[in-house]
């Protein structure tokens, strides 16, 4: 029975999430065995060295990776429905370009730390509001108009990003490029992001059936009783909030928001009651795994997470696409 299969899939993804989180906490320059981890956790909570490695160094980064992956996957799942376009991802409407412009501007004028996060937030918020304002036409906002406005704005902001990179002094460039590719170095405990992800998932689940209806088209949704303009703005603001939160936390990590909803859809079908939590769990797991590989494969040198994410995700996606569905 389909319901059982989907529930089973969610349980499996939950177990995968726990395993990848554990793997990320134990794996690194210093290897920690599982029994050592349990011992630290239960018997010797004040072992200073391992305690520091696990709880101060790895836990914030591991959780940040998971939150970022979950937020981007959730935003991607919503955006693909909102734009009714399988190619949509959280960055397609220029939110990440806005965040990048804000963050890079802060870097180039010599501001660091919390200013970069704040700049990213401000940049993404500006992009969100601009798209929302410019895509409105005669009190309605079609998916095509929203998409075209977002893409145009993203292109304009990309030009601005290029300009900032061109005029930036060499010592700043490496940090800027790493931020653009996605960077979790120096991550802090993502408490705000966890609240956004948890609360956001719950709110999104309230829209699950409406999302299912909206996949049939705007006209169909309206004749079934949906207030389409209000729904579009709600979903747009939700996915934008998730994207802006993720980008502010970890920079522009590509691909996870595009591929993960497709992966879950291929395994569990389109029902958003399963698709949304499934995307959060798989997105979080994949990005946690990608980050673990990124920081350990060529240690002490760190690799861009986005690159590892794509290397991990593409083969999985292609195999699933090849063998699971004949309806794509």
């Amino acid at each position: 029975m389909m319901i059982t299969t989907r529930t089973f899939l969610l349980i499996a993804l939950g177990i995968l999430a726990i395993l990848t989180l554990l793997f990320s906490l134990l794996h690194g320059t210093v290897w920690i065995r599982f029994d050592q981890f349990l011992s630290i956790l239960l018997l010797h909570p004040d072992d200073p060295f391992l305690h520091q490695v696990i709880f101060e160094l790895r836990l914030p980064r591991t959780l940040s990776a998971f939150m970022t992956g979950g937020l981007l996957a959730l935003a991607g799942a919503l955006m693909q429905v909102l734009l009714r376009n399988p190619l949509a991802d959280p960055y397609i409407l220029g939110i990440s370009s806005g965040a990048a412009t804000g963050a890079l501007f802060c870097m180039v004028v010599g501001l660091g730390g919390v200013w970069i996060t704040g700049g990213a937030w401000l940049g993404s918020l500006t992009a969100i509001l601009l798209v929302l304002f410019l895509s409105r036409h005669k009190s309605s906002r079609s998916a095509a108009r929203l998409l075209l406005t977002g893409i145009a704005l993203a292109s304009g902001l990309s030009a601005l990003i290029s300009f900032i990179l061109v005029i930036s002094p060499d010592p700043l460039l490496r940090g800027m490029v790493f931020w653009l590719l996605g960077d979790l170095d120096g991550a802090r405990m993502p408490l705000v992001e966890a609240c956004v992800l948890g609360g956001g998932l719950l709110i999104s689940l309230c829209f699950a059936n409406a999302l299912n209806i909206f996949t049939h088209g705007e006209k169909q949704a309206q004749t079934l009783g949906m207030n389409v303009p209000r729904f579009q703005v709600s979903i747009y603001l939700l996915s934008s909030l998730f994207t802006a939160t993720a980008v502010s936390l970890a920079g522009c990590i590509g691909f996870v928001g595009f591929i993960v909803p497709h992966l879950v859809r291929l395994m569990a079908g389109y029902d958003h009651r399963y698709l949304l939590p499934g995307s959060v769990l798989l997105g979080g797991s994949l990005l946690t795994l990608a980050d673990t590989i990124a920081r350990t494969l060529m240690a002490p040198q760190q690799l861009p997470i986005g690159m590892i994410m794509s290397l991990l995700g593409v083969p999985i996606f292609l195999v699933l696409l090849r063998y699971t569905h004949d309806s794509y």
């Binding site: 389909m2 689940l205 309230c206 699950a208 059936n209 409406a210 299912n212 209806i213 996949t215 049939h216 006209k219 169909q220 309206q222 004749t223 079934l224 009783g225 949906m226 207030n227 389409v228 859809r265 079908g269 389109y270 029902d271 569905h325 004949d326 309806s327």
Partner: protein, 245 residues
């Protein structure tokens, strides 16, 4: 308008671009009536149905649903009163037949739109009526064109509105299902006092199943009346130039 009128259209003028599709239409739909909308391709049958349900803004005129302006009603309220089957078949391939059909229950579901056992039971009944009970677990992309058409009709049956707007409901259907489907809607009209407004191209089906017809001529002129009086060769010749000469 009397208290029994379901839908009352006053002086409605509908345009697409600069083309006037219907001019100053006055129309009253009462419970239990079946209306056939006839006209050549491009005469505005689909646009008129879309206008009645609020998907297209008319140039002028008013549409009253149960004595209330359609434009003043929430989409959720309109959806409990009017349901539409679009001309195109549904194309959401990743859903099962049952899942798609269940979407018709959306206007009747609670705050978060979660289906209960009654919704599921009604959906099973609708699939059964449209001859799709055995395929309820199938994915939509495995259905034929005719089966998808019956699925769209089953979905509007689960919606259970008072007025059914059916845009070419017999598209893709074989002869047996054309009659089976229209017989079912006729039964709904007579037994449940539902109203049906459907655009059709088959004159014989209109004669057989519709009590009233609305003829849309190419210049935006309209004629309406009983099927018996209006479906004459003269009118049909005007409606489809060169065909009934």
């Amino acid at each position: 308008m009397t208290h029994t009128d379901l839908l009352n259209v006053n002086q409605l003028t509908v345009q697409i671009g600069t083309k006037t599709l219907c001019r100053t239409l006055d129309l009253t739909i009462r419970p239990g009536e079946i209306w056939g909308v006839l006209g050549a391709n491009g005469s505005g049958k689909t646009t008129l149905l879309h206008t009645l349900i609020g998907l297209h803004q008319p140039l002028s005129g008013t549409i009253l649903l149960n004595n209330k302006l359609v434009t003043s009603l929430q989409p959720s309220h309109i959806a409990t009163q009017m349901g539409i089957v679009f001309q195109e078949n549904p194309t959401h391939f990743l859903q099962t037949v049952f899942e798609f059909c269940l979407t018709g229950r959306y206007p009747h579901m609670g705050l978060f739109g979660m289906p209960n056992s009654t919704d599921k039971e009604i959906t099973h009944q609708a699939l059964n009526m449209m001859g799709l009970a055995d395929q309820h677990k199938q994915k939509m992309h495995t259905l034929s064109g005719g089966e998808k058409r019956r699925l769209a009709l089953a979905a509007v049956l689960t919606q259970n509105p008072k007025i059914y707007l059916l845009d070419e409901p017999t598209n893709h259907l074989d002869l047996r299902y054309q009659h089976q489907v229209l017989t079912h809607f006729k039964k709904l009209a007579h037994e449940n006092q539902a109203s049906v407004i459907m655009s059709l191209h088959q004159i014989e089906l209109v004669r057989q199943y519709c009590d009233h017809v609305l003829l849309l001529f190419e210049n935006g002129n309209i004629k309406q009346g009983s099927t018996h009086n209006l479906l004459t060769e003269t009118h049909l010749a005007k409606l489809y130039p060169g065909t009934f000469a």
